[in-house]
Amino acid sequence: MSTSNVYLRVNGEGLPSFAALIDCLKTTGGDLTLDFASSQRIGADALSTLEALANQAGEKQVGVVLTGVSVDVYRVLKLVKLASRFSYGP
């Protein structure tokens, strides 16, 4: 199984669109891994992107794994009810 690692720039501009990547992963059967190791905070844009990603991945039955999520960021995901829509890695 192939795995793609994508680094999400939290609060950054021009956040990537995941649609094409998810289509690809659906074909290859891989998971999408987003590494948050360098993110101590998360902004509204990133949350919006994550929500869209969760929706797309759910539709296409592609797994999304978040790694390196700090407890601060995890708590925000809980507050906006996004936490349960992802898997988590170390």
């Binding site: 998360i42 902004g43 509204a44 949350l47 919006s48 601060d72 708590r75 925000v76 507050l79 906006v80």
Partner: protein
């Protein structure tokens, strides 16, 4: 999503959902901000609000047609500058307060999304105020403005929002309903993502907020009574009242509604009002005002008058006044529906009442307060401190303003040191959750991080203990005019009293009070007190066993403090430091109590306990307080040389139980452990010798010391379950206390060494240690064993060997108590043991069924050969 708000269109619901979604995301993002992040945002917001104060006031007046432009400008400035002055240096994010000495931290947790209803009367100022509070506390706000004020509110919100976002606030942190409806409010009030409703407005909005089932800050209408008392500065009062009541044409709900004046100043005050531009209405004018301004159906003021000028109101009503009239003053003769103008009037019409006395004035103020003003605001003008305090007690109002204008005074920060606000909590009287001036702390969940703090401990014993043979001679050290020796007849007969008498300094008047050799009764205490009075005693020497010394303790207490209520002092308690009943103390010329024990067991000579029997009421009274501890203990073995063998065994085992129970007590400490361990060592070594060779002076002396040392341990660490069971069982079947303890002790050791069903809360101990303590005792006694379990077992066996050697009964059955009698008594025995305070320091919290099992186990027989887990239904506690 909610089922409420079903009158809304799909589009409107989508609009509202979008507002909530934005706010929720903003609140979540905002929760990551630090205090400095927040403070960087607040200041420019405040400056923006100040800059726009006039323009926003203009918008408010234009849209609402209420109030006064200049006053609304001032309100906007107060809502920004004054509120900022209050919040500027306050911590509202992260750790907001620390109490190192109490081990406490307070941490701010934002609420999340707050739905805020704002009023038509103070629209822009309320929005400015709440925006500052929300940013300072990292919350997101959705405003639900009054339908007649939404445009100006939206503009106020935009002013603050623009400044906030420019300086880093998350987008969506403020939103404002456009063209709001009641259905919108209902929908949002019930929305699952709205965490708090902050409703400042009319009774409808407040009631809806509280009915939503959400946490709510609902602050509503008032009806402010004013007492203008005869000692007041009338000129100042009149100016203040006019200033307040005409401020923004009376739209602040804290403004004065009915002024009750003392007869002596009534005419002068009205003249002052008139001189400063008020119109004093005639009776017929009052009637016109009442009919036109108050809705006869509801009893409330007509909305058309709210926030209008006095002259305009007069014109509408048909009362002729000068155009510059500031205020219409309407004399009324009572309060209630029959006196329409006694309600809240958010316009410049002021009711006045002439009172014949302070009593009447206060009653009328109470009437006004209860006629729609509960919990809100009340005002008093007086220089009589008693009147001010009485007014404060009588008025149910969150704000009681003294010698200042009601409306501006209630806002806080201008005329007084109250917290600046635009939202007045009215307490339960007003159906609100707080009486506070609502402020930033109401927009926070405040979390307490409480560190484990060890309870204060102590080691308290008499400050003088004399021991070894002839220690009694130390009595010479204590001068006394008159000494009463409390003792037993038998001790007189065998010459012990005479030995004591010889040791008292010459010249001392000595009197002997001989009391029965039994648990002291109240009548003995009374007789003792009378004897002390008769002989004007300044010293008691208690010579005897525990009963005599206990009696002397209570006699001294009642003599020193005749008003001491023994019933109250004997009230149960869980923690001696927090007990309800407080023993008297501190008497400079208190009697000296010297205790000389003649048994080696109870240790009463050093303990703070006393037990007596109240036969008249058929009960025992247990007193416990360090003030009962004798001043001097003399542990002289010459007084125990003639103790009978059975008494030697019973009292010796009592002492051993004291030491073992103190050793594992949750109140044990290194200080008590040192005493407990030494006592155990001495008892194991010398008790068999004293029992088998009563004339062995060394054994007698060491046992006498051991009992005293054990008592020092349990005086400070208390005892445990064995004592609770022994008290209950011993009292029921008339078994000597030490023997009853001997029957229980092995079973209780096994019980305490097992894994507890319930642990006793104990801040002083880091883990369960009873089994380890027993193992330490086994090591001290050189009993062998490798593991803790083996050592506990060795200790059990050693205790049982000792009991056997002392010819103690091996079971309750061996005492001749039938199984039938025992089973019949069992429920009461367990219940009484549970009620006994002794077990409250036991390491394992006994359950009722466990007490029953322990008693049954003791009935059957010793734990010899049984492992701890077999003794009571538990597994042995095994760890390293």
């Amino acid at each position: 999503m909610t089922e409420k708000g079903s009158g809304l269109s799909e589009e409107r619901m989508a609009y509202l959902e979008n507002l909530v979604s934005q706010a929720r995301t903003a609140a979540a993002v905002f929760s990551q901000y630090t205090q400095s992040d927040v403070d960087r945002i607040v200041k420019p917001m405040v400056l923006a609000g100040l800059e726009q104060a006039y323009r926003l006031a203009q918008l408010a007046v234009e849209e609402t047609r209420l109030g006064v432009l200049e006053d609304k400008t001032i309100k906007n400035m107060v809502a920004t500058e004054f509120v900022y002055d209050y919040v500027r240096d306050r911590r509202t994010a992260g750790i907001i307060r620390e109490y190192p000495d109490r081990g406490l931290l307070e941490v701010a947790e934002p609420i999340g999304v707050i739905f805020s209803v704002t009023p038509v009367t103070n629209p822009t100022s309320t929005v400015l105020f709440k925006c500052i509070m929300a940013i300072k506390t990292r919350n997101a706000l959705i405003f639900g403005p009054h339908p007649r004020a939404w445009r100006c509110c939206r503009e106020a919100m935009r002013t603050m929002y623009g400044a906030a976002v420019r300086h880093g606030a998350p987008e969506g942190v403020f939103t404002c309903l456009e063209e709001p409806t009641i259905d919108d409010n209902v929908y949002l009030m019930h929305h699952r993502d709205v965490r708090l409703i902050d409703a400042t407005g009319g009774p409808g909005a407040v009631k809806a907020a509280y009915s939503s089932g959400k946490p709510a800050l609902g602050v509503g209408p008032g009806n402010t009574p004013v007492y203008l008392e005869k000692t007041a500065d009338v000129q100042m009062a009149v100016v203040d009242i006019i200033t307040s009541k005409t401020f923004d044409n009376g739209t602040i709900c804290a403004s004065e509604q009915t002024v009750v004046m003392d007869d002596e100043i009534y005419d002068r005050a009205l003249a002052e009002f008139a001189a400063l531009g008020a119109h004093i209405c005639t009776e017929s004018e009052v009637k016109l005002l009442s009919q036109a301004l108050i809705d006869p159906k509801t009893g409330y003021a007509q909305a058309v008058a709210i926030g209008q000028r006095a002259a305009d109101i007069a014109r509408i009503v048909g009362v002729r006044v000068k155009p510059e009239t500031k205020l219409l003053i309407a004399p009324i003769r009572g309060v209630g529906r029959d006196h329409p103008l006694s309600v809240e009037k958010l316009f410049p019409v002021l009711a006045v009442y002439r009172a014949k006395s302070a009593e009447e004035a206060l009653k009328v103020c109470v009437d006004v307060n209860h006629f729609g003003g509960l919990g809100h605001t009340a005002v008093v003008f007086s220089h009589n401190e008693q009147i001010i305090r009485k007014f404060g007690e009588m008025m149910n109002a969150g704000r009681i303003i003294v010698n200042s204008p009601g409306s501006i005074g209630a806002l806080g920060g201008v005329y007084n040191d109250m917290v600046p606000t635009f939202s007045f909590g009215c307490g339960t009287g007003g159906g609100n959750s707080t009486t506070d001036n609502v402020n930033v702390y109401h927009y926070l969940n405040i979390k307490r991080v409480a560190r484990r703090t060890p309870a204060h401990m102590w080691f308290r014993v008499p400050n003088q203990i004399y021991f070894n043979r002839n220690a009694v001679e130390n009595l010479e050290r204590f001068s006394s005019r008159s000494t009463v020796i409390v003792t037993n007849p038998s001790l007189e007969q065998i010459g012990h009293v005479e030995i004591v008498r010889r040791s008292v300094p010459s010249g001392t008047h000595i009197h002997v009070l001989s009391i029965p050799d039994a648990e002291p009764e109240m009548k003995v205490v009374r007789a003792g007190v009378e004897a002390l009075k008769l002989y004007a005693a300044d010293q008691i020497v208690a010579l005897g066993g525990g009963s005599v010394i206990d009696a002397a303790k209570v006699i001294k207490l009642q003599y020193d403090y005749p008003d001491a209520d023994l019933d109250e002092l004997a009230a149960p308690f869980l923690d001696i430091r927090k007990r309800v009943a407080q023993f008297p103390g501190g008497k400079a010329d208190a009697l000296r109590l010297v205790a000389i024990p003649t048994t080696s067991g109870t240790g009463s000579e050093v303990t703070p306990f006393a037990m007596l029997t109240d036969k008249a009421r058929g009960r025992k009274v247990t007193l416990a307080d360090y003030s009962l501890t004798p001043d001097v203990a003399i542990v002289d073995p010459q007084f125990v040389m003639t103790m009978p063998k059975a008494l030697t065994a019973d009292t010796g085992i009592d002492a051993l139980t004291h030491a073992l129970e103190a050793g594992v007590s949750i109140f044990s400490s290194p200080y008590t452990d040192a005493n407990a361990m030494q006592a155990i060592f001495l008892i194991f070594r010398y008790l068999p010798v004293a029992f088998e060779h009563p004339d062995n002076e060394e054994a007698r002396a060491m046992m006498h010391n051991a009992a005293c040392i054990a008592a020092m341990a349990f005086s400070n660490a208390s005892v445990g379950v064995s004592h609770a069971l022994a008290h209950s069982f011993g009292a029921h079947f008339g078994i000597p206390h030490g023997r009853a303890n001997g029957l229980m002790l092995p079973h209780v050791i096994a019980y305490n060494a097992s894994v507890p069903t319930k642990f006793m809360p104990s801040p002083n101990q880091r883990t369960y240690v009873a089994h380890k303590k027993y193992a330490i005792v086994a090591d001290l006694l050189g009993l062998g064993g490798e593991t803790i379990e083996q050592k506990v077992q060795k200790l059990l066996e050693a205790v049982e060997r000792l009991l056997d050697r002392l010819a103690m009964p091996a079971s309750i059955a061996a005492l001749g108590i039938s199984a039938e009698d025992f089973e019949q008594a069992l429920p009461d025995l367990a219940r009484n043991a549970f009620d006994d305070p002794s077990w409250r320091s036991n390491p394992r919290m006994p359950l009722m069924n466990e007490l029953v099992e322990l008693l049954r186990s003791a009935y059957t027989g010793r734990a010899t050969g049984k492992s701890p887990q077999e003794t009571v239904t538990n597994t042995v506690y095994v760890d390293k």
